[in-house]
């Protein structure tokens, strides 16, 4: 029996887990996939929003601005890259200039700092590749870019280092409360019991909520297609460029990523299927057309991959973070769509405080606040790198040539807390396979390393857990022997 069970190991669940790991409490995270960061958290714009979008006075606005504030220190503590590159909302129609002022006013009321409205000339000076039609822009210097994988992984790792249990491939199928008020969670891997439950199930948060409450909620998976462009053109813009927002959201943005690629997206299509993260031809061509409205000469021939993510959209477009009225000790974190990534540390803080009070939790004396990331040899001087290779020769063996990722980094990713067990697990921790050849070169090599280090047969190595195996069987004549 646990004090708290968190359902979902995305950014929200992992942020809550990390906050709870400060206290003397037994905490477990149940995740249906084989790794953290498998749902909404893995496929989004990777932007740390400033906070001028969310409705004034909303919880969303509060979480956004607080999350943005917290991100600098959090990234430092977790040893992950984060950069405040600034965002611009670009106006291309004179008659829409008032809209910038509306956003500006809202941002000020939400507590966003350093907001400015730029003239056409000022905007072009900051960002020469803006559309020729630019009339003005709202400039938010506190907006930033981050690696959502690393943020999620780092928070989970840090939580696990502080004693939180993570159970992967464990899907919650039913929840009930016994007469002593204990929650029983039936999963494909047996029953788990807890005094408190936190629902951080992303697009499935409604399914989990509706298991325990008569007041049903509905989460719509809102799909967004993205294109990721080669690092060669990663500096096409240096700020995050937004169109003016519409009812469907913040629109198609163009932004550098923290690792130096260029990202274009997302579209917005409401679905029924909670696993419908397939891209569509219509979606991709739609976003290319829209992105070109605000940024000129977009080098779309340099796309290296496209993907789609599902936002967990709730009808009121507001975060639901509270104890469920008719389900005591059951806390919802539902409707966590954009700016969810930005907000996650604030959501973690809020839920942590909430449970601290309700459960009278005491702080651990030996809580580890920092986490050391995977060493990035590319940040070392030649001499330092040489020393490293002398000590650990695996750092001298390049496995992913596009991103220059060495075997040493991959070994670290596999053997650290909550280590990688699949190609995608390695990819999200190290970037091996994330470059322009999209793992064509390194995937057989990473498979061999996983095979050797985890003692898994090659046939059982997966792209991302489950049935995503990569090879089927030995070729003729190689059965039983090494090739």
């Amino acid at each position: 029996m646990y004090d708290v069970i968190i359902i979902g190991a995305g950014v929200t669940g992992s942020a809550v887990a990390r906050e709870l790991s400060r206290y003397n409490a037994s905490v477990c995270v149940l995740e249906k996939c084989e790794d953290v960061c498998e749902g909404t958290s893995k496929a989004n714009s990777a932007i740390i929003h400033a906070g001028f979008d969310a409705a004034e006075g909303s919880l969303m606005a509060k979480m956004n601005v607080r999350g943005n504030e917290m991100m600098g220190k959090l990234a430092e503590d977790l040893d992950i890259p984060f950069k405040r590159n600034g965002a611009m909302v670009v106006c291309i129609h004179k008659e829409a200039l008032d809209g910038l002022k509306t956003l500006y006013d809202r941002g000020i009321k939400n507590g966003v700092k350093e907001l400015r409205i730029l003239t056409r000339e000022e905007a072009l000076e900051l960002e020469p590749n803006l559309s020729d039609n630019v009339e003005g822009a709202l400039y938010a210097p506190t907006s930033g870019i981050i690696c959502p994988f690393l943020l999620n992984i780092a928070m989970a790792e840090n939580a696990a280092d502080n004693g939180v249990d993570f159970r992967f491939n464990t899907k919650v199928e039913d929840i009930c409360r016994d007469d002593k008020g204990i929650w029983h969670l039936r999963t494909n891997n047996g029953e788990y019991k807890a005094r408190y439950v936190v629902n951080a199930a992303g697009v499935s948060a409604d399914v989990i909520h509706n298991m325990v409450s008569e007041n049903k909620i509905h989460i719509t998976p809102r799909r967004g297609d993205y294109c990721l462009l080669d690092k060669e053109v990663g500096n096409h813009v240096s700020h995050t460029i937004f169109p003016q927002p519409t009812k469907l959201g913040k629109g198609v943005l163009v932004s550098p990523t923290i690792h130096g690629n260029l990202i274009v997206g997302p579209t917005a299509v409401d679905l029924q299927d909670k696993e419908g993260n397939n891209t569509t031809a219509a979606g991709i061509s739609d976003l290319i057309a829209k992105a070109n409205d605000h940024v000129k000469n977009l080098p779309m021939r340099k796309v290296i991959t496209s993907f789609a993510g599902l936002r967990a959209h709730e009808a009121n477009h507001e975060f639901i973070i509270k104890e469920v009225e008719d389900a005591p000790h059951f806390i919802d974190c539902a409707g966590i769509e954009s700016p969810g990534l930005t907000s996650c540390p604030a959501i973690g803080e809020m839920v942590g405080e909430m449970l601290k009070e309700k459960m009278s939790l005491t702080e651990k004396e030996n809580w580890i606040s920092k986490r050391k990331g995977i060493l990035n040899p590319q940040e070392l001087t030649l001499e330092e790198r040489n020393e490293l290779i002398k000590k650990e020769p695996a750092y001298g063996n390049i496995i992913c040539r596009c991103e220059s990722i060495s075997e040493g980094e991959i070994l670290d990713a596999i053997h650290r807390t909550l280590g990688a067990r699949s190609l995608d697990g390695v990819k999200r921790r190290t970037r091996a396979g994330m470059g322009r050849c999209q793992a064509g070169f390194c995937s057989p090599r990473v498979m061999e390393i996983l095979h050797r280090e985890l003692g898994l047969p090659m046939e059982e190595i997966t792209k991302s857990g489950g049935r995503s195996t990569i090879v089927l069987e030995r070729t003729k004549g190689t059965n039983g022997g090494e090739a």
């Binding site: 496209s306 792209k463 990569i470 089927l472």
Partner: protein, 422 residues
């Protein structure tokens, strides 16, 4: 800092031939840097035959072809380092390399030969919509898994793209017991060699659907089916022509791109058509003393031509080193122009004072041409007019230019290569 007269980046067919050629020109101090655990490059996984018809007048497998050159390298005592990745090349030819054994170190090279080969265009670059499950491979990755690692990716295969590796893998997977259901090609012609279509598809009754592409990929964990559709003249799928194939493997053979990271790091000028460096008659890039050959320069279809081109680069590098880098560039430079159906030429310029007696010019056409002429103009005057029964983008073409003939031409500024109907 250690130094070598010539450092060759890559120990595949191009690097090996360049090394042998430079040694035969009298340069002693040569180093080949190879990132894999053995010499031979991509040929090691090309276990089919058909290599060496031009060079050796016999049909060799890839590893056998590579071995001929490896033996020469060994016999000549040319130095090489395996498991060594080149991380950077500077404009003044300082090569930064790294390996488990030697750590990270720098080498001052008298001349550098770029011979890193090419890579496959991945799914992402093709913007194929659908899910992103396991079971999608570039054809070369599948070739490595099957031929080197000894594992089959699956049993029911669809192939998108009719590049040579895809065609070869259609046959290879069939021989391993898989069913190759269809090869879909976006263009109205194949990107591969005619002989591979005959020997790898036709002989095994594997259908090739031209002007078709993949419009959907199904399967959330592992691929379960793909849908292909016919495309119109703008390569847009035509509604109503969709056909669904269940499969557990999708191979992509949609083009190769020179591996140009190091070329870019060195800062050599690139040709946007080939995606490789711009070179002169000696296959020297825009940076003096840095040469390029093989698939890193432009993608070839026959390894024989790679070897031949690399010999030229090796000889030029030797000449550069022997002249202490002081090769006089004359005013007598002719620009090669590719137009009217000719996509590019290698080289891009010819210095009449520095060229050999015979200069090979490689080029590719942009579409299928039947019963047309390859015409070569010296300035505005048509000097060569060769009838060709068929020319296709998948087959590299070449013409030879004679130095004494070019010198006779008064005030020669441009040589234009084009396709003409008559």
């Amino acid at each position: 800092m250690i130094s070598y007269d010539i450092v060759i980046i890559g120990g595949g067919p191009a690097g090996l031939a360049a090394a042998v050629s430079a040694r035969n020109c009298g340069v002693e101090n040569i180093l080949i840097l190879e990132r894999d655990k053995e010499l031979g490059g991509i040929l090691n996984q090309c276990i089919h035959n058909g290599f060496g018809l031009h060079t050796f007048k016999e049909e060799l497998t890839g590893p056998e072809y590579a071995d001929r050159f490896i033996q020469k390298v060994l016999d000549l005592g040319i130095e090489y380092r395996l498991n060594t990745m080149v991380m950077d090349i500077s404009e003044d030819r300082v090569v930064t390399a790294m390996s488990r054994e030697d750590g990270m170190y720098q080498i001052q090279a008298g001349a550098v030969v770029l011979a890193m080969g090419c890579r496959e265009r991945p799914r992402g670059a093709l913007n194929i919509p659908g899910y992103r499950p396991a079971g999608i491979f570039s054809a070369g990755t599948a070739q490595r898994l099957v031929n080197i690692e000894g594992y089959m990716p699956g049993r029911e295969v669809v192939i998108l793209g009719s590049g040579d590796i895809g065609l070869i893998m259609a046959r290879r997977m069939t021989l391993e017991g898989a069913i190759v259901k269809v090869v879909a090609e976006l263009m109205p012609y194949s990107g591969g060699l005619k002989r591979n279509i005959v020997q790898c598809l036709n002989d095994f009754h594997i259908p090739l659907k031209l002007s078709h592409t993949v419009v959907d990929i199904e399967g959330k964990d592992h691929i379960t089916a793909v849908t292909i559709a016919q495309v119109d003249s703008h390569n847009k799928p035509i509604p109503g022509t969709e056909e669904r194939y269940t499969c557990d493997t999708l191979l992509l053979s949609c083009g190769l791109i020179p591996e140009n990271e190091l070329s870019n790091k060195a800062g050599v000028k690139m040709n946007p058509v080939t995606n490789g460096p711009i070179v002169n008659e000696g296959l020297e890039t825009s940076i003096p003393g840095i040469f390029a050959c093989g698939n890193v320069l432009h993608v070839h279809d026959l390894v024989d031509y790679v070897s031949e081109e690399a010999e030229r680069a090796g000889a030029s590098a030797a000449r550069f080193v022997q002249a202490d880098g002081k090769i006089e560039r004359s005013e007598n430079v002719v620009k090669l122009i590719a137009t009217d159906g000719v996509r590019y030429t290698v080289p891009c310029t010819i210095d009449l004072n520095n060229m050999d007696e015979l200069q090979t010019v490689h080029f590719r056409v942009g579409a299928v041409y039947t019963n047309c002429y390859v015409s070569v103009y010296y300035n505005d005057e048509r000097m060569v007019h060769i009838k060709k029964k068929i020319m296709a983008p998948g087959e590299m073409e070449r013409i030879m230019l004679q130095r004494n003939r070019l010198l006779k031409e008064e005030d020669l500024k441009t040589i234009t290569i084009k396709i003409e109907a008559e």
